[in-house]
Amino acid sequence: MPVIDSGAEPGAGSTASGTPPAPGRPARGAPGAAPTAGPAARRARPGLLRALLSSRKALFGGVVLVLFAAVALLAPVLSPADPALITGLAAQPPSAEHPLGTTAKGQDVLGLTLWGARSSLLVGFTVGIAATALAIVVGMAAAYFGRVVDDLLSLVVNVFLLLPGLPLLVILAAFLPAGTGTVIAVLVITGWAGSARVLRAQALSIRGKDFVAAAVVTGERPARIMFREILPNMASVVMTTFLGCVIFGIGAQAGLEFLGLGDASVVSWGTNLYWASNDGALMTGSWWAFVPSGLCIALVAFALAMVNYAVDEITNPRLRGGRAGRRAAAVGATPVAPAHTTEREG
């Protein structure tokens, strides 16, 4: 389960008792790369992983995601022919030869769906990683430096949150040249702000802890404090925002491509739906042309949401212990920042 691993990376010195690294040593950028750890961090990783594995929701989500990842990787083996080739009669219902039927052009729908997983998952996860990274940098900087930096960055974040996302997406995509790179760039630009706000709130509560003050006093460099002292303590929030960004990426890519604003020559679930709609699959009753791709998008998004739920339940004692926290994975809920992960250390 690579998804879970990358989010739950432990890091160094998460408690005040952990020996602070020598001041002035160059911070080597990569967040959470150091294997040394205070007692809390050492417990965190196997704890979170084991808890995830024993959660039915996370297990279901993980299995579905692994299955789809396998389909994406094995598409050339499972369906060797070029999916865009015309291999049968037009608009045929499912049969032995074409298990999911053919499109109005005569392409095999099963092949299109299998190959579509590649572009959709690739774009979704790339957007997830890039948007989360941007959100981490902005949210951390705002929380760490405070004052003018915080005011400025928060203003930018709030403006981006308020500008209507989909129309902005459409207008950006319309001006930029069509292509997968454009789609990714546009989705990152429009998708990072919400995460940045959540991460800033979380970082702010850790910023006030004693061990951060201790690190500042010993003269550690800001980048090192941000990424090696504060960030490792936010693993579960980073994970949650990452999963949210991937869900956004997959859904928004499909939406853009459905509108014809992606690269229509790429095979993905979004372009499959675009062609299905364009070729009048709805009107001719070819339900098999648009059902598989939509179902795949929904399954992946649902699986990600399930993992997200599990992470929330594991790391938020208020949700687990019968009394609910305010921060369940409600769609579009405004972050109230109840600072739930910090309680884990105690």
Partner: protein, 325 residues
């Protein structure tokens, strides 16, 4: 009052950002929009018309800051240029004829989703672990995982094409003239059912879960125990004591969701060919009608900002704690 003024400043900055974005995009993007339009409409357009177009666009030889100032000035006087695909109709006129439909669709869907969703959330939290609480949330999360344009396609196929219960496209039948009469209004309503229903289906889960979670926290408060000890009727405690206080986060979400009303119904409008600004925006994109595209974007942004500002003001009235900050 200071709170409101500060917020007003923030919204002005947000609007200024979108104007600036609109100004910069055609000037710094690869490729010149005017030549792109020219190559698309090669047969109809002559070079001198192209120069005319450039001038209309504000893409002239004046220094950038001068162009910028006149652009901002034009926006605030409502002068957004001329539509290319519907030449020579002004952009503001095209938008004006369509925004009503978007508002109708978005507002209907939003109101239904908010009322029903919050009510379900209250009931689910009140009977925690009951059938409503255990069955509905996972189902709604699953339904919410579908791209909503895909649900729209499914609904159109099932209830429109196969069963024939509802009309397939547009906001009213061809041949009818808009008027305040029963036949016309009922026709509009029947065209509204499917698009509104799909938006409600996708969004209702978020409202329900949000309400459920705050409600659960509220129910655990001491004053609820106190009310129960006093022997008040459960219905009264549920709505007057608990739900009323749990509603505040939903008000904030309502402000964000208003953005959905104008901008978010876009994909649904496209599927149903519903004649709102979202459908028009796609039309403008396909026709490379940049002035219209930008005009719609600005209109949507302005509508979202104004709506959020209004919600902010209401929120201050509802929650006195905000004023203290």
């Amino acid at each position: 009052m200071r709170f409101i003024l500060r917020n007003l400043g923030f919204y002005l900055i947000a609007f200024w950002t979108s104007i600036t974005l609109n100004f910069l995009l055609p000037r710094f993007m690869p490729g010149d929009p005017v030549s792109r339009m020219f190559s698309q409409a090669q047969d109809q357009m002559r070079p001198e018309q192209m120069d005319e177009l450039r001038r209309l666009f504000g893409l002239d030889d004046r220094p950038l800051w001068e162009q910028y100032l006149s652009y901002v000035g034009n926006v605030f006087t409502g002068e957004m240029g001329t539509s290319i695909s519907r030449f020579p109709t002004p952009v503001s006129e095209v938008i004006g004829s369509q925004i009503g439909w978007t508002l109708l669709l978005g507002a209907t869907a939003l109101l239904i989703a908010v009322v029903v969703g919050n009510l379900l959330g209250v009931l689910a939290a009140w009977r925690r672990g009951g059938p409503l609480d255990s069955a509905l949330p996972p189902l709604l999360v699953f339904v919410g995982s579908f791209p909503y344009f895909w649900l729209a396609m499914g609904a159109l196929y099932l209830f429109g094409v196969t069963l024939g219960w509802f009309p397939l496209r547009h906001a009213f039948d061809v041949g009818l003239t808009p008027e305040f009469s029963w036949p016309f209004l009922s026709n509009v309503a029947s065209h509204l059912v499917l698009p509104a229903l799909t938006i409600v289906l996708v969004t209702i889960g978020g409202w329900m879960l949000g309400m459920r979670n705050t409600m659960i926290a509220t129910v655990a408060e001491d004053y609820i125990t106190m009310a129960e000890a006093k022997g008040l009727r459960p219905g009264r405690i549920m709505f007057r004591y608990a739900a009323r206080n749990a509603l505040l986060p939903s008000v904030t979400n309502f402000g964000m969701a208003l953005g959905f009303v104008v901008g978010g119904a876009l994909l649904t409008e496209v599927v149903f060919a519903y004649p709102g600004v979202g459908y028009q925006l796609l039309d403008a994109v396909q026709g490379l009608d940049y002035p219209l595209m930008q005009g719609i974007f600005l209109t949507i942004t302005a509508a979202v900002l104004v709506a959020n500002f209004v919600v902010d003001i209401i929120y201050v009235r509802l929650d006195p704690r905000v004023r203290a900050r």
